[in-house]
Symmetry: C2
Subunit: 120 residues, 2 copies
DNA sequence: ATCCTGATTAGACAGAAGTCAAGATAGACA
DNA sequence: TGTCTATCTTGACTTCTGTCTAATCAGGAT
């Protein structure tokens, strides 16, 4: 398996990193929307809690870790969901969230830097 | 010319991706600040133009690609500079920008997903 | 049915961010 | 010196965002 293949598999579907070729406006808008979702300390922590958990995470377990109100947590989770970084499901009284790893990997690849560009 | 030099973790080896372990508040704040800089379509395009160029880029070559005023471009470039994603230098009449690839790679690694998490 | 708990939605508000016009600054050159 | 060009900074305006309280919704249990 070539490096090229590994890269495209890990990129969550596609995309040339911005260090390789300039983005067109459409991709820039989509990418910026995802970065905007990660551009808040609380949302980034929420994303990291959900992404690093081995299982789905209950909102009830997340909320106590933060010093903002429940509705605010709910708002931030919705922002993450609307850009496809997480998804959720109600199960009985509780709501559970899980990460969408391909979406996260896509945005990571978008800003990744080829090794040659790091060493020069 | 700009303030950069940030955490210790970004040199070479980098940080622990958020899919591996939850972020503490300090790293979440720093990461969110960098994502905020990328969370605008114009800034993301600016970053991609600068990062993908083989040479330093003159502001005079960038500005015509956008439909906003010169001061607005200047403002966006400053935002990118303040989070350490680019740096610049005046040379004669013109100002040249170049990318800081390690900083970009740091934020990319922060949200990268281990292969095992993509296939399960 | 009615109540209780967990979570989301609606509405309001302060502060942040994007934009532009006008002015300031840096350097080249006559 | 003065002027010209490229870029940045300032100040103002408008829109967007994060946060709260209060109200609403979804399910379980009494």
């Amino acid at each position: 398996m070539s490096k090229q293949q590994v890269t495209s598999e890990r990129s969550g579907g596609c995309c040339t990193p911005i260090s390789v070729a300039a983005l067109d406006e459409a991709l820039a808008s989509e990418g910026a929307a995802v970065f905007k979702a990660l551009a808040d300390p609380i949302r980034l922590r929420l994303m990291s809690i959900i992404a690093s958990a081995r299982e789905e995470v209950c909102v009830c377990d997340i909320t106590p870790d933060f010093e903002v109100s429940g509705p605010t947590i709910s708002h931030h989770l919705r922002v993450l969901r609307e850009v496809g970084l997480v998804d959720c499901e109600r199960r009985g009284t509780w709501v559970y969230y899980w990460p969408m790893p391909q979406r996260l990997q896509w945005i990571s690849t978008l800003i990744s830097v080829p090794e040659v560009a790091l060493t020069h």
